[in-house]
């Protein structure tokens, strides 16, 4: 009996641990998204880069002219330089959340893309990792673009600030994993709006535009455990060259997000498509 290539490929993994949910091909989803980017979404993809940049110009220079410098742990930092790492963190969050909520919801319920993917030899974990990987790639691309702009405006003072790129990828990874989990529970576009509803206060209150010392202590305590504050604190530390144990805490914080998000997402996708 002649075996078809697809069967031979699937057979190689049969019997291995997790073979009912994973075929070792998250790249298949990423390739699909690349093809869709070329064919349909190039414009949307590239304009995604514009938003943090115009925020930087408007707030960094417009509001900056009213504010002057800001005191960060004893350093006097120009407002634009204070803002830049925070905007990078927020855009990593935003991009990952939009990819993993709106875009995934659309693919799931309108395009029925995952139904098609899951009727091939792909497993739920392939799809989840692929989509999350794509969100990371996108987050990374935007981060690089933003860094170039920041460098041109003289906002990068040390080579250490290049570490903000992997940091942005980590932030995207965490938000995308959790975003996928949330999306898998959603039934309607209205519910998606609530995601935006929570994103906005995070964006506005996480020390993005001004130090959180403006708030009472109890509120500061709440803010410091929210994910965007963690991301911004990590980015600012890297941008201003302040390396301490806190940095490690931020990294660990996001690692936990990633693990929890991935586990729940895979479980949910299996429940959605294989039950």
């Amino acid at each position: 009996m002649i075996t078809a290539a697809a069967v031979a490929i699937a057979d190689r993994r049969t019997g291995r641990f997790g073979s009912s949910i994973y075929s070792g091909r998250p790249y298949a989803t990423i390739l699909r998204n690349f093809a869709a980017l070329r064919t349909s979404n190039a414009f949307v993809f590239f304009t995604g880069f514009v938003e943090p940049v115009i925020f930087l110009l408007a707030f960094g220079y417009g509001v900056g002219s009213l504010v002057g410098t800001i005191d960060v742990a004893g350093q006097q930092v120009p407002y634009a330089a204070y803002l830049a790492p925070a905007l990078l963190a927020s855009s990593a969050m935003n991009g990952a959340i939009i990819d993993s909520t709106f875009n995934v919801f659309f693919k799931m319920h309108f395009m029925k893309l995952y139904h098609a993917m899951m009727s091939t030899s792909l497993g739920a974990l392939d799809v989840a990792l692929g989509e999350i990987g794509w969100a990371m790639l996108r987050g990374g691309t935007y981060a690089v673009g933003f860094m170039v702009v920041a460098a041109v405006f003289g906002l990068l003072t040390s080579w250490w600030s290049l570490l903000m790129i992997p940091a942005a990828v980590l932030v995207a990874f965490a938000f995308a994993s959790v975003g996928m989990t949330l999306t898998s529970y959603m039934k309607s576009f209205q519910q998606l709006n609530w995601v935006q509803f929570w994103i906005l206060p995070m964006f506005l209150f996480s020390g993005t535009f001004f130090p959180i010392t403006a708030y009472p202590e109890w509120l500061q305590a709440i803010i410091t455990v929210t994910p965007l504050w963690q991301a911004i604190a990590m980015m600012r530390g890297l941008a201003l060259g302040m390396f301490d144990l806190g940095l490690l805490v931020h990294v660990l914080y996001f690692a936990v997000f990633v693990v929890v998000g991935l586990t729940l997402t895979t479980r949910r996708l299996n429940a959605l498509f294989l039950r």
């Binding site: 414009f43 707030f59 509001v63 209205q190 506005l204 535009f209």
Partner: protein, 273 residues
């Protein structure tokens, strides 16, 4: 059992007499389904922006340069945020229904198959958007007043301004969206390349003079800047020459009327070809 008794007015070549109101009624019923989102965003948005940018950035600005235009930053920001919300409400309520009506559920085509005309459908969509703007502006004004960003006596003037600004932008988006053949990227184009730059470069968060001359023109053509300047004049008496006031009012009126006329024509054309 004559048919005539079942419709409220004779149907002429211009459609049923209150056709636009029927369309608006449908739109408002549709918005009612989204009421929890509309209300929570309507209140949440101003509260969040005032509590963060207004108070937080306000603290930085007031300590470092003692406010803007001689008033605290919060007072400077208030009218700008109100105008932004009005424009956003007007734009959303014409853009999304128009996309849906022509592309997503093609409802306009079945409306046009009744005795309604294209112009009436356009009027109705804008009319309903006007109600939404009125609601949003009122809510926003109330929150501003509670925060002390505007004085209580500004209610009629600022709400009227909000309505004008919302209708102006609503009419522009009505006209623009009626030409869209494929949705691909249109929402991103509007959101990222028009609304966002308009929001950030219209003197909303800082006086337009703080920008280099090379990008100040974004503010000059932006209805948001005109509405914001008028709002500041009404709210705390920002000193503006009479000709600038006149230009701003005329500009907003022209956008509202021009947008609606173009929209009407394109609606009718598209629905009958």
């Amino acid at each position: 059992m004559t048919i005539a008794t079942r419709i409220d007015a004779p149907v002429g070549i211009h459609g049923p007499r209150r056709g636009a109101w029927h369309v608006a009624e449908y739109r408002l019923r549709n918005m009612w389904k989204w009421r929890s989102a509309i209300i929570s965003f309507g209140i949440g948005h101003p509260v969040l922006y005032l509590a963060s940018i207004g108070l937080g950035v306000g603290l930085l600005v007031d300590t470092s340069s003692g406010g803007v235009d001689g008033v605290p930053y919060l007072v400077f920001l208030g009218p700008a945020l109100l105008a932004t919300a009005a424009l956003q409400g007007g734009g959303d309520e014409t853009m999304f229904p128009t996309l849906a009506g022509f592309l997503w559920n093609k409802l306009f085509y079945s409306m046009r198959a009744t005795s309604l005309t294209g112009a009436q459908i356009a009027d109705g969509v804008l009319l309903a958007a006007g109600f939404r703007v009125l609601f949003t502006t009122l809510t926003y004004w109330l929150v501003l007043a509670i925060f002390g960003a505007v004085s209580w006596s500004t209610a009629p003037s600022l709400v009227a301004l909000g309505l004008l600004a919302g209708l102006a932008w609503g009419a522009v988006m009505l006209a623009a969206t009626s030409f869209v053949k494929h949705e691909d990227g249109f929402l991103s184009l509007v959101g990222r390349l028009i609304v966002m730059p308009m929001f950030l470069f219209s003197g909303t968060f800082y006086p337009l003079d703080a920008l280099p001359l090379a990008i100040r023109w974004v503010g000059w053509i932006s209805p948001l800047w005109h509405a914001t300047e008028l709002g500041r004049w009404l709210s705390y008496g920002l000193a503006l020459p009479w000709w600038q006031l006149a230009i701003s009012v005329i500009y907003l009126l022209a956008l509202a009327v021009g947008g609606l006329l173009i929209g009407r024509r394109q609606f009718e054309r598209r629905l009958t070809s």
